[in-house]
């Protein structure tokens, strides 16, 4: 990351709060999340199931189902525009054109009754002034860009393997050269050798098109490989955020440390893992104070009675822990 990129802000999320109202109870999915992504930068959003990762991406794209979802607070500024207050008609010009999303499951993200070529061309036709024939030509180019022979554009999704379908989904997301790509677990459904191909391709494309990426994943290996910055999210809150080197070398929050301790390592010969005890809290009934405190071995009364602010460790490395991971 160069110094010039630091100031070139593309998207700013501030104090985002998203709730889901279900029968009588309220699910607190996202509780005051703030982060920035600069141009050409990749931010990794790491956390477990139900931490609120996908909800954040959907809020940015304005595709949260309302009801039950409701953005209660916060702002999402994209190139100076507040996306949350944008009328739907305007939002449609942004969605798919300037911001696009790769969904987790390539098997369900494609329409089974249209050819892949038509599906990619649809995204292009919606946003660019061009003829049908031109859009089809562009669709073929996009397929070739992601490493699929252009003549396969007349085929249907079921004729492709999982890895190929995910490439089609990526081709569709990149069809209009978006400035921001939201990648929601883009390789989770794929085998490792295919995952390696897809990640390599994404890294190359990112370089070529200077796209910013929000990479949602639970795989710390992928984060190490792809991301400039990392935000660790737990129970709808960022518990630690910083440059990838800082997070990997100086993980401070007990939850971040716990995540690393849970991973079986390919290098060490340790025969015992160090998992985090207990379970993720129920999002309809979150604990007071630090949301990780019931599972944290360093927690005391002070952690449980008050909301914990993010604390700056320097160099943009922020941690939401009043004990700095038990060291104080």
């Amino acid at each position: 990351m160069s110094e010039t990129k630091q100031t070139d802000n593309l998207v700013s999320v501030r104090d985002l709060v998203v709730e889901f109202t279900t029968d009588g109870s309220v699910v607190h999915a996202v509780n005051g999340v703030s982060f920035d992504i600069n141009k050409g930068e990749t931010l990794g959003l790491v956390g477990e199931t139900g931490a609120g990762k996908t909800t954040i991406a959907k809020a940015i794209l304005g595709i949260l189902p309302d009801p039950p979802a409701k953005v209660r607070n916060g702002s999402i500024t994209f190139e100076g525009q507040d996306l949350l207050s944008l009328p739907e008609k305007e939002m449609r010009k942004v969605r798919g054109k300037r911001i696009s999303m790769i969904f987790q499951d390539p098997m369900t993200a494609l329409n089974p009754i249209f050819t892949v070529g038509d599906q990619i061309a649809e995204a292009i036709l919606l946003h660019e002034k061009m003829s049908k024939a031109e859009s089809e030509k562009r669709a073929v180019d996009m397929l070739e860009l992601v490493g699929i022979p252009g003549e396969r554009c007349k085929e249907y999704p079921h004729q492709f393997s999982g890895g190929m379908k995910q490439r089609v989904v990526i081709a569709m997301a990149l069809a209009c050269n978006p400035e921001l790509l939201l990648a929601d677990e883009p390789t989770t459904a794929l085998d490792v050798t295919i995952q390696a191909q897809v990640l390599e391709m994404m890294a190359n494309l990112k370089e070529k098109l200077n796209t910013s990426v929000l990479m949602i994943t639970h795989d710390l290996g992928i984060v190490a490989e792809m991301c400039d910055k990392v935000a660790v999210i737990y129970a709808g809150e960022i518990v630690e955020i910083g440059l990838a080197e800082d997070i990997f070398d100086r993980a401070t929050h007990p939850y971040t440390k716990g995540l690393f301790g849970s991973l079986p390592s390919l290098k060490s010969h340790e025969k015992r893992l160090h998992p985090i005890t207990g379970m993720v809290p129920d999002p309809t009934n979150l604990p007071e104070g630090c949301k990780f405190s019931p599972r944290c071995k360093y927690a005391d009364e002070g952690c449980r009675c008050q909301a914990i602010p993010l604390h700056d460790l320097g160099n943009g490395h922020l941690v939401r822990c009043r004990k700095e991971g038990g060291e104080k």
Partner: protein, 326 residues
């Protein structure tokens, strides 16, 4: 002494409209008591079919299975019931492998009812013990699967598999559907149970760091064939088959400083329907030559390290122990 479990040239073919699908093709290995054999490979390589064929959940097409020295390739219903007490399975998906209409205690109790010979009170006592063993709180006795998260559900699956006190468990991707922090808890539990009860595991997974962590020996499968088999440490330190090398290099490592050199494979897994003789990996292998189209044999290259590749010596000259090459 014979091995605890041995399979010889095991084959499982499926007849499909387009031809014969070779799901498991000529796989042989032995497992010693109390150890874990990891089976890794990508989706569709036949690793689950292998586990299920050993347990007689699928009938084998060819080859032999020996369990504690006894040939169990073909058994009658009566004998199969007895075997099932010894051999159990933990399934991948804790969401679909539990009956949603049964409570936790009913699910764990079912094998005990099927076995018979226990009073209701004895069974309740046993269920309580099992729940305690796998770390399920007693208050969950009457809960239903949908009320529980994936980790707890997988604990139910483990308790059910342990109910009849088996000596051998096939674990079919038991942690793949779980989050990392929960995954670590379940892996630790499975290791503890193995130590306490002297269990023997076949651990099927696509996650290489998990398999390294839990296995004593590892088999790498590609399109129904066993391409490499070695003790866990040896396989990771000294992979010899080109596919294993590519597979290991493809794992993203959680370390920002050591970006490793990738061996990127071209193309995708080919069709397992009516495969041509010869190495099935040849189509994606950069070292493939004409000779790779002939059938390959599993060969012991280093002690305990078997590889099925005719070019293995040529490709790995420096890594093969000196005594072996002379």
């Amino acid at each position: 002494m014979s091995a605890f479990l041995e399979v010889q040239n095991l084959k499982k073919y499926f007849k499909t409209g387009r031809g014969t699908l070779h799901a498991v093709d000529d796989v042989s290995f032995k497992i010693e008591k109390g150890t874990t054999l990891g089976v890794v490979g990508e989706s569709g390589c036949g690793k689950s079919t292998l586990g299920r064929t050993i347990l007689h959940l699928l009938d084998s097409t060819g080859g032999k299975i020996f369990f504690q020295g006894e040939d169990i390739t073909h058994v009658n219903k009566q004998k199969l019931r007895e075997l099932r007490e010894e051999m159990q399975i933990i399934f991948q998906d804790p969401f679909s492998s539990l009956n949603p209409r049964m409570s936790v205690s009913e699910i764990i109790k079912e094998p005990l009812i099927l076995k018979g010979g226990m009073s209701k009170d004895q069974m309740d006592e046993e269920v309580k013990k099992l729940m305690d063993t796998v770390g399920l709180a007693e208050r969950l006795t009457n809960a239903y699967p949908h009320e529980l998260d994936g980790g707890r559900r997988q604990r139910i699956g483990i308790a059910r598999a342990l109910a009849l006190n088996p000596s051998f468990i096939v674990c079919d991707e038991p942690v793949s559907a779980l989050d990392v922090s929960i995954q670590a808890q379940i892996l630790n539990l499975m290791q503890d149970l193995q130590e306490e009860r002297g269990l023997t595991y076949i651990f099927i997974t696509h996650d290489l760091s998990v398999v390294k962590h839990i296995s004593d020996e590892i088999c790498v499968m590609y399109l129904g064939q066993l391409v490499e088999k070695a003790p866990s440490e040896e396989l990771f330190e000294n992979p010899l088959h080109p596919y294993t090398k590519a597979l290991l290099s493809a794992i993203p490592i959680p370390d920002v400083h050591n970006k490793k050199q990738r061996i990127l494979l071209k193309g995708e897994i080919t069709s397992p329907i009516d495969p041509k003789p010869g190495c099935r990996f040849a189509a994606r292998c950069i070292h493939a030559t004409e000779a790779c189209r002939k059938p390959q044999a599993l060969e012991e290259i280093n002690p305990g390290h078997f590889v099925s590749c005719q070019k293995v010596r040529e490709l790995n000259d420096s890594k093969i122990h000196k005594e072996e090459t002379i």
